[in-house]
């Protein structure tokens, strides 16, 4: 079933015409409402009238995460505050998170796009659907929640944590659908098994998984342990949240909600477009957002747009799975973590030297982050006859990191000089998860 065939199956020509019209409108809107875009366009000698068709998009300037940070908190917001009905935020690299404001219309579009995703996964009004993404500033929880309500199925706002209770509800309520990170799905499977609940006692049949990279083998494991069919969902808060693209029953790439989010693939070095089928950096322009529209936002995600038609009948272009990043961002338990955030925390602690390592692993299906940091020799050479100052320092570092990263980490204090020094580019991060 298709939620909105008039859009999802639009003939190519008609779709491009709609995209062109919407692009002109959004460009005109931000030109008159956001100083940042007006300045950038004027620098290039562009006026809204120069953008008429979707092919004109290449004339427009790019927007980066740094631009969002520089304009913290409301610099890129186009709508007046009285029109904004919700704020979400993603983690920032050096303290400032990225703030995204949504108008009522944005929330409606988000819910519409989310309903398209859920319908493609096979979710119907009769389903009981559990959302185990975190509810809060993170877009995962509320984003999927509104989509399920819009579709008319029953939503169970389980959120993360309380996994034991969630396992019980899966069985007792006969929950049929689940949305969460793939690693949380595996954790939930484990808790279900440990609680002595058999797979045949569950009614689960559909899972929507995303917000972190996952592999085909993880999909198979989740499917066999929870007895459901797992589908990919992709999104990012700067563009909207989960709902930007979704797998259909063919599971060959994820269809992009192209009438709202226009994708391009560029070479991250030359910034030139890359032909369909080849890998490059994914760039999105929001065509209909009114709260905080973004033009040509560089996602830093590496993937390709798949050429050819999909047997499901949808004409929305499909993107491949994400093959990597153009920056050093890590996604740990669904949360974006930059090594520079860790560095800024450590530099603020006088007992710590500026030598550190991040070790990311997956233990019992949950991502773990270990931060190793050298203590300063001056600190270790006063009153260090018991281990309690070391334990206290570990606690202090862990607490500060938690405040900034929003995830917990294990801290190991190292001897001065014990971490390898690099002359060239330092290898700070070791990711043992082997996701790609």
């Amino acid at each position: 079933m298709i939620w909105n065939p008039s859009k999802e199956c639009m003939p190519e020509e008609q779709k491009r015409e709609l995209q062109g019209k919407r692009l002109h409108k959004v460009v005109d809107y931000v030109y008159h409402n956001v100083l940042f875009y007006r300045t950038k366009m004027q620098e290039l000698g562009l006026e809204p009238g120069d953008i008429r068709t979707i092919d004109d998009i290449v004339k427009l300037p790019f927007t980066t995460k740094q631009d969002l940070r520089d304009n913290y908190p409301f610099g890129l917001q186009a709508a007046p505050q009285s029109e904004i009905i919700r704020i979400h935020a993603s983690t920032g690299t050096t303290g400032n998170p990225t703030i995204v404001g949504y108008t009522r219309k944005d929330i409606d579009i988000w819910s519409e796009c989310m309903s398209r995703c859920l319908t493609a996964y096979g979710v119907r009004r009769s389903d009981i659907f559990s959302v185990a993404y975190g509810y809060g500033l993170f877009t995962g929880g509320l984003g999927v929640h509104y989509g399920v309500e819009n579709l008319g199925a029953t939503v169970v706002p389980a959120s993360t944590g309380g996994t034991q209770k969630h396992a019980k509800l899966l069985k007792d309520l006969g929950i049929t659908g689940l949305a969460c990170t793939p690693s949380y799905a595996l954790h939930l499977a484990e808790v279900v098994e440990k609680s002595g609940i058999g797979k045949d006692e569950l009614k689960l049949r559909v899972g929507a998984f995303g917000a972190e990279p996952w592999t085909e083998s993880m999909r198979q494991e989740i499917e066999s342990r929870l007895g459901l069919k797992g589908y990919n969902i992709y999104g990012l808060s700067e563009i909207m949240g989960p709902c930007v693209s979704y797998e259909c029953e063919c599971q060959h790439g994820s269809h992009i909600n192209e009438d709202h989010f226009y994708p391009e693939i560029i070479d991250p070095q030359t910034l030139r477009p890359i032909p369909a089928g080849e890998d490059g950096e994914l760039v999105f322009t929001t065509l209909t957002k009114t709260g905080m529209p973004v033009l040509r936002y560089r996602t830093r995600d590496l993937c390709s747009l798949l050429p050819g038609d999909c047997p499901c009948g949808r004409t929305f272009v499909r993107m491949s799975s994400i093959k990597g990043r153009t920056d050093d961002m890590l996604i740990i338990r669904g949360i974006n973590v930059f090594p520079s955030q860790v560095e800024s925390v450590l530099l603020g602690i006088p007992e710590c030297a500026p030598y550190y390592r991040l070790i990311v692993d997956r233990v019992n299906n949950l991502d773990t982050l270990t931060v190793q940091v050298e203590a300063r020799a001056e600190y270790l050479s006063r009153d260090m006859d018991t281990l309690s100052p070391i334990a206290a320092l570990e606690k202090k570092v862990a607490a500060r990191l938690r405040d900034v990263l929003s995830i917990s980490s294990a801290v190991q204090i190292k001897m001065p000089g014990s971490l390898e020094r690099f002359e060239g580019k330092a290898k700070i991060v070791t990711d043992n998860r082997k996701l790609i």
Binding site: S381, M384, D385, I390, I413, M415
Partner: protein, 134 residues
């Protein structure tokens, strides 16, 4: 009170050997060595003939080491001597952070740390024991 040298060490093969080798090169005579450990690291505590020079040798080699004053008491080399000494503290409600022993010129010496060194000294002297001074 005597001076104790302590070194923070990671739990890794070769670290202790490297530390002791530095002390050997500096011709430091060790009297006692004690290691407390956790999974990731430990503290090595050392009593030696010249703690200041030992610390300097370690610091010069890039190893962080600290000096602290600790209590030490000479005991009789007879069964029950340790029990009698520790029971003095227990009776007065004074707790020990750590404790280890060594033989100095065939006499047992107990090194320990408490929250209140002055109180420990008074307790020991009232029990007829002699605090060790270097």
């Amino acid at each position: 009170m005597i001076q104790q040298l302590s070194v923070f060490m990671e739990n890794r093969t070769g670290i202790l050997s490297a530390v002791l080798d530095i002390l050997k090169q500096a011709e430091i005579q060790l009297y006692a060595i004690s290691i407390a450990d956790t999974a990731d690291y430990g503290i090595c505590r050392i009593i030696c003939d010249n703690p200041s020079r030992a610390r300097q040798a370690l610091m010069d080699a890039g190893v962080a080491a600290s000096l602290s004053d600790v209590c030490a008491v000479e005991l009789d080399n007879t069964p029950g001597a340790a029990a009698d000494m520790v029971s003095l503290f227990a009776r007065e409600g004074l707790s020990l952070a750590y404790l280890y022993t060594f033989l100095y010129k065939d006499r047992p010496v107990m090194v320990f740390r408490t929250d209140d060194a002055a109180k420990a000294k008074t307790i020991l002297e009232s029990g007829g024991l002699c605090c060790f001074n270097w």
